[in-house]
């Protein structure tokens, strides 16, 4: 990990520790939790897009899988929550492998379409066979570990942001390793990458699985935090929302996932009074970013910052 990132992580840690001490407003903390959940899902997609050059339109599927599997295992089968979370992640990554192997062998848009199909199938399954069908189910046990049950918003804030910091650390280490360079090489030229001995299919599969792990973990945490699930939150639109998070934040920088998540999570809170134009605004923002701000916020800021230093 580079020095800048290490400092960044350190300050993020400090911020996370002290934020709930300073801001005690439950509403703001709740928004903070949702920012964290969205950022975790986006982080995986960001590595997949920015580093492996692949796109997934099915992150909602993994997110939903994580949420439902963990919720059902802990509620209906009485498994301890950490174990149900673990199994849900395992399930998601297994499906990710099955999905990735055939579609990553093909070039270009195939993963996009395959993941889109996968996400929608999960959505249909949750609607048809999920407990409670389209209206969902509740009474999901809250997160508990070593006999201690998390109840307050502050505790969940810490739990989720602890996972963010862990995932951030892992991601940053990965990106700054030789493997990270190989991933970026694949993005620039697959042809040259293979002739350097980089097994591009295998690396892409691993990154895709990593993205499914982040998404399913986020889903599981979400389930045990809100203790109520319905399929509507796991539709294609959520996948696209996460795509927006990554695009706005900047896919070539993992920090973009957090920055983007802040914007995309807060936006609907601001737009609360304009329910009928929210999709239009999302569309405008995404189109605008793709046309005029392709790099995304974080890389853009870094660029401006570096220019100022050079002066």
């Amino acid at each position: 990990m580079s020095k800048g990132n290490a400092i960044g992580l350190f300050f993020l840690g400090i911020f996370v520790i002290f934020f709930p001490q300073i801001v005690t407003d439950n509403y703001i903390l709740t928004v903070g939790i949702f920012i964290g959940i969205n950022a975790l899902v986006a982080m995986g997609l960001s590595i997949l897009m920015g580093y492996a050059g692949q796109i997934s339109l099915g992150q909602a599927g993994f997110y939903g899988l994580g949420a439902y599997v963990s919720a059902i295992l802990s509620l209906k089968f009485g498994l301890p929550v950490p174990i149900s979370v673990f199994i849900s992640i395992l399930t998601a990554s297994l499906i990710a492998v099955i999905l990735a192997i055939p579609s990553l062998r093909l070039k270009g848009h195939y993963l996009a379409v395959a993941t889109l199909g996968f996400g929608e199938i999960i959505h249909i399954i949750l609607n048809e066979w999920g407990p409670g069908g389209p209206s969902g189910f509740g009474d999901i046990p809250p997160f508990s570990i070593f006999g201690y049950t998390l109840r307050s918003t502050v505790e969940y804030f810490y739990l989720i942001w602890m996972f963010i910091i862990l995932a951030m650390t892992f991601s940053l280490n990965l990106i700054h390793s030789l493997t990270g360079k190989a991933l970026r090489a694949i993005h620039d030229s697959e042809l040259a990458s293979v002739t350097l001995g980089i097994n591009i299919t295998k690396l892409k599969i691993k990154v895709f699985v990593l993205s499914s792990i982040y998404a399913s973990l986020a889903g599981a945490l979400y389930a045990h935090y809100v203790t109520f699930l319905s399929p509507s939150g796991f539709s294609l639109f959520y996948s696209i929302l996460i795509l927006m998070v990554v695009v706005i934040g900047g896919m070539t920088n993992i920090w973009g996932a957090i920055a983007g998540a802040i914007i995309i999570t807060i936006l609907p809170e601001i737009l609360r009074g304009f329910k009928e134009i929210d999709i239009l605004i999302y569309g405008l923002i995404l189109t605008f970013c793709l046309l005029f701000m392709r790099k995304g916020i974080v890389p853009l800021f870094i660029e401006i910052w570096e220019k100022r230093i050079k002066k």
Partner: protein, 249 residues
């Protein structure tokens, strides 16, 4: 013989690009593959490095058949290459391009990379610098590769290939787009690689001065067939080679 091409054929939609090609490359030599445009030279390099499949025939590298082996595994066996239409990693810095070459023999694995805090070993960075020094690019190490002029991008590709620690390097028109001085430096560099590092080189090149100056052996292709083979002086006098080249003009 480090590389043996046995009866290799390849056609694209009815057009025979290569017809029963046979020749061998001796270890430690600079072996040039020449011929007019469309003779099938690049296709043959693609087949050797595994990014294109041959229709029939066999290729043996260090006495092992590499038929059907995917390209990344061929790189692991010791075959590296450069590209005629430059395939550098433009958004990576120059020294990072070299690091991608070092990945092959020095990577730690996905999971371990994620839990190792200190990033890329200092040794590897130093190693990448010394490779850059070898190809005369050390002063450009922190620039984005896409900002280099063509000549230096070609050197960078060569350095990246060297970083994989190969036994054989396939050079696809390394002098294309280079001026006279750059070409001269390149020819010295290629000889240095052969002499100091004992790496075998299979060279596809149009610059005859370069080819005649450094090659130990030359194979001439025309319309997908080997029409001559021999040392530079012999090739220069070979009538069928002369007519093949004159016929082109």
């Amino acid at each position: 013989m480090i590389l043996e091409i046995n009866n290799v054929s390849k056609s694209f939609g009815g057009i025979k690009a290569l017809k029963n090609i046979n020749f061998s490359v001796k270890e430690g030599e600079i072996h040039a593959l020449i011929g007019p445009n469309g003779a099938g030279k690049t296709t043959l390099l693609n087949i050797i490095s595994g990014i294109e499949k041959m229709d029939s025939g066999d290729i043996r590298f260090k006495n092992i058949s590499i038929k059907g082996i995917p390209p990344h595994k061929r790189a692991a066996l010791g075959i590296a290459r450069t590209f005629q239409n430059l395939e550098i990693f433009g958004n990576l810095k120059v020294f990072e391009n070299i690091l991608t070459g070092l990945y092959l023999k020095n990577q730690k694995g996905f999971l371990k990379s994620g839990i190792t805090l200190k990033g890329i070993d200092k040794d590897l960075i130093i190693q990448s610098f010394s490779i850059l020094e070898y190809v005369n690019l050390l002063n450009k190490k922190d620039e984005l590769a896409k900002n280099l002029p063509v000549g230096e991008q070609r050197l960078l590709e060569l350095g990246r290939a060297l970083a994989t620690d190969p036994h054989l390097i396939l050079l696809d028109e390394p002098a294309a787009g280079l001026n006279m001085r750059e070409t001269k430096n390149l020819s010295q560099l290629i000889q240095k690689i052969r002499d100091e590092k004992a790496i075998t080189i299979l060279l596809v090149e149009h610059d005859m001065e370069l080819v005649m100056g450094i090659s130990d052996m030359i194979t001439v292709l025309n319309f997908g067939e080997v029409i001559a083979e021999g040392e530079p002086l012999m090739i220069q006098k070979n009538p069928s080679v002369i007519s093949a080249y004159l016929g082109e003009d």
